[in-house]
C-alpha cells in the first residue's frame, strides 16, 4: 500500500518559485491499479520522481506500508528505492547488456551472488514471457519485448509498489494491450500496488481501478473508473470517453450526444428510445465498451423530436444522459475539450 500525504514539490525559492505538485493526497491499496492522468506539464513526471524517490518532496510524504520513505537520510533513501519498482517509458535498457543482464542490474547493485541472480533472472524472464529472448540485446527486441524487460527489471527486487511512468506511451495499440494485460496479471499474482501514470485515456480505461486527474499540480478529480465513466457530470469521466468523428445529422434533425450515465443501460436502448419517442433514430457515431463488466460509452444520434425535454426524459429512463447539438455540448461544463469531427484528440489526452 502506498499513500501520498500533502505531497508538495516546489522548485526555486521566493518569488521565482514554481509549485509543481500542490498538496497531493491519495492512497492505493495492495492489488489495486491507480491511474494518474493529466495534460502535459501537469506535474506527472515530477510526481513519478517523487514516488520512486528520485526527487525529494518539498513537504509532505510518501508512505509505503506505514513507513514514511521520503524523509529518510540519503543513504537509507537508496535502500528505500528498492521497495518501489519503476517501469519507465520505452524501457530505457542498457544497450550493451542483454535482456537478462538488464534484468540483473538491480540485483547486481544490491550485491546478490551470481548464482542467485541467475535463478531470479530466469524466473523473471519466464514470468514476463521472454524466455527465448533472454540473451538478445535491446536492439534485437521489439518495443513490447523491451518493455517486458523493463517490467521484469522493475520486479527484480520484489517490490511492493510498481510505478509505471508512461510505460505504454509510444507503443502501438496491440502492444499496449499486451503490456496492460501483463501488468494486470502481475498485479493479481504478486498482489502489487500499481501506480500507473499516463496521458493516454484509452490505456486508463483498459487498466485502472481508480483514476485521478492531475492539473496544474493538483488533483482536480478522482474516483473509481466505473463511477467516473457512468457519471455524466464528471469532466474526467467525459475526458476518459473516446471521442470519435461522427456523420452529419439529416436536415431538420438535431445532433444528440448521449453518454451511458448508469451501470444498467439496456443493450437495446436505441430501439426502445426510438419506440418511446415514436421517431426514427439515426446512429451517427458511437463508442461503447465494457469496463469492469459494465457497459460504458457514448453515442452521437440524429433525432427529429418534438422537444428536447421529451428526448432527455426518455433517455434518462434508460440510464442515459443526452444533450442536443453535440458541438455545443462539448464546451458546456467547463471541460476544455473541443469536440470536432475528426475527434480523438481532446486537450486532456495531450501530447507526451
Amino acid at each position: 500500500m502506498i499513500s501520498l500525504l500533502e505531497l508538495t514539490k516546489t522548485y526555486g525559492r521566493g518569488a521565482d518559485s514554481v509549485t509543481v505538485l500542490d498538496r497531493l493526497n491519495f492512497e492505493v491499496g495492495a492489488g489495486e491499479i491507480f491511474a494518474v492522468t493529466g495534460p502535459s506539464g501537469a506535474g506527472k513526471s515530477t510526481l513519478a520522481q517523487c514516488i520512486n524517490l528520485l526527487e525529494r518532496p518539498t513537504s509532505g510524504s510518501v508512505v509505503v506500508n506505514g513507513e514514511d520513505l521520503s524523509s529518510l537520510p540519503e543513504k537509507r533513501l537508496r535502500a528505500a528505492r528498492r521497495r518501489i519498482g519503476t517501469v519507465f517509458q520505452s524501457a530505457s535498457l542498457l544497450s550493451r547488456r542483454t535482456a537478462s543482464e538488464n534484468i540483473a542490474l538491480p540485483l547486481e547493485y544490491l550485491g546478490v551472488t551470481p548464482g542467485e541472480i541467475k535463478a531470479r533472472v530466469g524466473e523473471l524472464i519466464d514470468r514476463v514471457g521472454l524466455g527465448p529472448k533472454a540473451h538478445s540485446y535491446p536492439f534485437q527486441l521489439s518495443g513490447g519485448q523491451a518493455q517486458r524487460v523493463g517490467i521484469a527489471r522493475a520486479l527484480a527486487l520484489r517490490p511492493a509498489i510498481l510505478l509505471a511512468d508512461e510505460a505504454t506511451s509510444g507503443l502501438d495499440p496491440d502492444t499496449t494491450s499486451s503490456v496492460v494485460e501483463l501488468l494486470k496479471q502481475l498485479r493479481t499474482d504478486l498482489d502489487l500496488t500499481v501506480v500507473f501514470i499516463t496521458h493516454e485515456m484509452d490505456t486508463v480505461r483498459q487498466i485502472a481501478d481508480s483514476v485521478a486527474r492531475l492539473e496544474r499540480g493538483q488533483i482536480v478529480e478522482t474516483g473509481p473508473l466505473v463511477d467516473l465513466l457512468t457519471d455524466h457530470g464528471s469532466p474526467l469521466g467525459r475526458a476518459l470517453q473516446p471521442r470519435r468523428g461522427f456523420a452529419a445529422a439529416d436536415d431538420g434533425a438535431a445532433t444528440w450526444y448521449v453518454t451511458y450515465d448508469s451501470a444498467d443501460v439496456p443493450g437495446d436502448w436505441i430501439q426502445r428510445v426510438s419506440a418511446d419517442l415514436a421517431v426514427p433514430i439515426h446512429l451517427l457515431g458511437a463508442s461503447v465498451e465494457t469496463v469492469h463488466g459494465i457497459n460504458t460509452g457514448s453515442a452521437t444520434l440524429g433525432i427529429t423530436a418534438r422537444s428536447d425535454e421529451a428526448v432527455q426524459a426518455v433517455l434518462a429512463r434508460y440510464g442515459l444522459s443526452g444533450t442536443p447539438d453535440a458541438r455545443r455540448e462539448a464546451t458546456a461544463g467547463g471541460v476544455p475539450v473541443s469536440l470536432v469531427r475528426s475527434g480523438a484528440v481532446p486537450a486532456l489526452e495531450g501530447a507526451a
Binding site: R78, S92, L94, S95, R96, L105, E108, Y137, F139, Q140
Partner: protein
C-alpha cells in the same frame, strides 16, 4: 667525409643509405611507441576518473557542484587552448622539477601527459554526456550507488564513444611525440626533424612519413575494430 676548404667546413650532401635506415629508424620508432605508451597509461588512469567527475559535478550530474565544475572546466580549457609547443616550453621548470631534466623521453612525458589528460577528460565527459539521462534515472531507481551508476550505467554505456575518442587521442599523442622530438625527446619525430628537415635527407624524410602514415592508419583501423566489437548492434548485425 668533410674537408677544410678555405677555412669553411664543407659537408657534402649525402642521404642515409637505404640499407642503414632500419638501424636509424627502428630504435627511434621504439622510443615513439614507448613515449606514447607511457603517456597513454597516465592519461587513462588520470583522465578517465577526471572526465567522469567533470560530467557529474556539472548541472544535472549525480553530485552537482557548479563551482567545482566551473574551476575544473576552466583549467582543462586552458590546457586545451595552448598549442602543444608553447605548453611544452612554458612548463619546462615544472618538468625539470618532476623529472630532473628537460630533455629526453622522461621530460617529454610530462607535457604530453598534461596535454593528453586535458584532451582525454573532455573526450570522456563528452562520451558520458551522450548517454541518455533516462539510463541514469533507471540506474538510480534500481538502487545503484553513485559509484555503481557511474561504472555500469554511465561509463558502461559510453564505452564505444570513449574508445572512439581514445583512437583520436592516440593519434594526437603520436603527433605530440613528434613535436616533443624537436626538444630532444627522441623518437621518430626527432629523426624526421634532424635528418629530414635540417639535413634535407629526403630518404629519411620519406621513410618517416611512410612509417607515421602506416602507424596512424593501423591505430585507426584497430580503434574502429574495437569500437565495433564493444557495440552489440555493430558486432552482431552484418551490414
Amino acid at each position: 667525409m668533410s674537408a677544410v676548404v678555405g677555412g669553411a667546413i664543407y659537408v657534402p650532401r649525402a642521404d642515409v643509405p637505404v640499407a642503414e635506415l632500419p638501424a636509424l629508424l627502428l630504435p627511434a620508432y621504439g622510443e615513439t611507441v614507448l613515449m606514447v605508451g607511457i603517456v597513454m597509461a597516465i592519461v587513462l588512469v588520470v583522465g578517465t576518473p577526471l572526465g567522469v567527475l567533470l560530467h557529474n559535478v556539472a548541472p544535472g550530474g549525480l553530485f552537482e557542484r557548479p563551482s567545482l565544475h566551473a574551476v575544473l572546466g576552466w583549467i582543462i580549457s586552458v590546457g586545451r587552448s595552448l598549442p602543444f609547443l608553447i605548453l611544452m616550453a612554458s612548463i619546462v621548470p615544472f618538468t625539470r622539477f618532476i623529472t630532473g631534466t628537460n630533455i629526453g623521453i622522461a621530460a617529454a612525458v610530462v607535457p604530453m601527459s598534461l596535454a593528453g589528460i586535458a584532451f582525454f577528460t573532455r573526450i570522456v565527459e563528452n562520451a558520458l554526456r551522450s548517454v541518455p539521462p533516462s539510463i541514469v534515472r533507471v540506474a538510480r531507481a534500481s538502487g545503484g550507488s553513485n559509484l555503481q551508476i557511474m561504472r555500469s550505467a554511465q561509463f558502461g554505456e559510453a564505452v564505444p564513444a570513449v574508445l572512439g575518442g581514445l583512437t583520436i587521442q592516440v593519434i594526437a599523442m603520436i603527433e605530440y611525440s613528434a613535436i616533443a622530438g624537436t626538444i630532444g625527446a627522441g623518437g621518430i619525430g626527432y629523426v624526421a626533424v634532424t635528418y629530414g628537415y635540417q639535413r634535407f635527407d629526403n630518404t629519411v624524410m620519406l621513410a618517416t612519413i611512410l612509417i607515421l602514415v602506416a602507424t596512424v592508419a593501423f591505430v585507426q583501423v584497430a580503434g574502429d575494430r574495437l569500437v565495433r566489437w564493444v557495440t552489440p548492434q555493430k558486432r552482431l548485425q552484418r551490414a
